[in-house]
Symmetry: C2
Amino acid sequence: MSKSYTIAVAGATGAVGTKIVELLEGANLPITKVKALASKRSVGKTIPFKNTEIIVEELTADAFSGVDIAIFSAGGSLSEKFAPEAVKHGAVVIDNTSHFRMDENVPLVVPEVNPESLREHQGIIANPNCSTIQMMVALEPIRQAFGLEKIIVSTYQAVSGSGARGIAELENQVKEYIDGTPLKELTAEILPAGGDKKHYPIAFNALPQIDVFGEDGYTLEEWKMMNETKKIMSDDSIKVAATCVRIPVVSGHSESIYIEVEKETSVKELQELLAQAPGVVLQDDPSQQLYPQAINSIDDKATFVGRIRRDLDNPKGFHLWVVSDNLLKGAAWNSIQIAEKMHELELL
Amino acid sequence: MSKSYTIAVAGATGAVGTKIVELLEGANLPITKVKALASKRSVGKTIPFKNTEIIVEELTADAFSGVDIAIFSAGGSLSEKFAPEAVKHGAVVIDNTSHFRMDENVPLVVPEVNPESLREHQGIIANPNCSTIQMMVALEPIRQAFGLEKIIVSTYQAVSGSGARGIAELENQVKEYIDGTPLKELTAEILPAGGDKKHYPIAFNALPQIDVFGEDGYTLEEWKMMNETKKIMSDDSIKVAATCVRIPVVSGHSESIYIEVEKETSVKELQELLAQAPGVVLQDDPSQQLYPQAINSIDDKATFVGRIRRDLDNPKGFHLWVVSDNLLKGAAWNSIQIAEKMHELELL
């Protein structure tokens, strides 16, 4: 059997969509054609792909005619509207938004962690949240080897997680500051959450709000990390608590993670395990000041892990520092990996 | 009895020293004279104080002649050398460096938390580390009311903690970036730790290293938070784990803190308690997107607390977000408060 796919990218002109098209060039997938879909105002723009240029078409239901794989990264409401249309047209949907993630009929997949869930798909597969994905890549090998009882994570998230407009907002604020504008008066129109009422400067600040607040005082971003973790690891008994914070970094999410494992282990064993783990690059040598850094993660597909150390009060407690490019492994690259894995498992 | 003090500020031209002289203007202390001491190269500079100007003198042993209170903020090695000299000359020393903090003959004091420790002083009183102080102000009222078993803290620390040169380094890197220098090539000569071998850009980055590494994989900054907490709270049984991270913020340290208390309580009770607590300003209303922010803490003496929420797995577990100006409550203001409290307790 020789298959080759027509792949549509919905939201092809956005921060993540652009990366998806770029990464498809090197993907381990036979590709006949890539269709770039976006809103009306982007129609006619061109996007380079291999030795040619793709002309952006409007995102409509009919645009999915003849499409085998549709990768969505155009916002939750557009996924809600068009993903079922793409499925009706015979495509398999890989959705980057949060819209379908907790739907019990939709597998939520990190290919290094739960590839077998793909077999249960009914047309739509969800890509987890960026901050969840890198944590899963780092912790799943530990869970498999030593069990995992508890996770407490505090994040240091980049503005690119809120799209190209978030990056522009940070860069503009930095320029305003250099030109003499006081910190509290920097122009803020997007962050901390595009859809929320108030906006605060992110330059030279730390904002403990990503996405909107729920009634229990947790933000939606925190809720995602906690609930997606349980779904991806297929274990509702894992205790997970998240505090999600935006900081003035362009790209690359960092996470300070505390875990409690079930079986005794050591820092050395964890380092050896993670050095071999799929998708992980271990950077952990305090004597050389070697640890993961956001700026070094940019444009790299790996999840970087370092600063592994034992808790001084709990022999089964460990601390880690986990960093990854939120636009790649946190979004675009994970989507491509899902498509590759489905091809490999002959699910397409 | 009517007392009035001659106060020396050692390191008067530094980031913290400057703030100390500023704050002495409004201090609740009868002051006869302020002496500004610094290294030879600053001698002759003037510092405004009330309606006059103080001329900077050289930091020598003899400079402490006639001094009642000597506030040190000139680095650990200068405190080591000159603090005992100041004591010999009859001064009480309030030291901002880490040099004497764990000395069992030296009280380590946050005036809102353990003022009575001042009575045991033998000439030198230590000011705790900036990141420890704000955590103590927020957690001591909780410890007193409900007991405190465990603390897990991840910090988001500003560059001003590394002095005026740290601020200049961040600002220069930001300018380089705006002018087109790639992130990995920004000029780094100070951070993450002035005395360490390698230096990394802090602009648009998060560095999980503050101060040098110890053999157990924890940094000295983390070690300080863990050990100073136990000393200040006079309780070696409290479990404390810290991950200390520098982020591109000019001033204002933020902390994501998880605690486990001994007695049952609620978010509402904790909010009511902290709203009344000395030195604390509660900013906790998710419905109004109200929470502490680094840029709002600058030049304020308070410790701001918000985002208080119950852990979803442990009814005695709570999460908080704590922010304070590291140069004020984290350093200069706490020193002044120590002097005021010693005056109040008639220990001078």
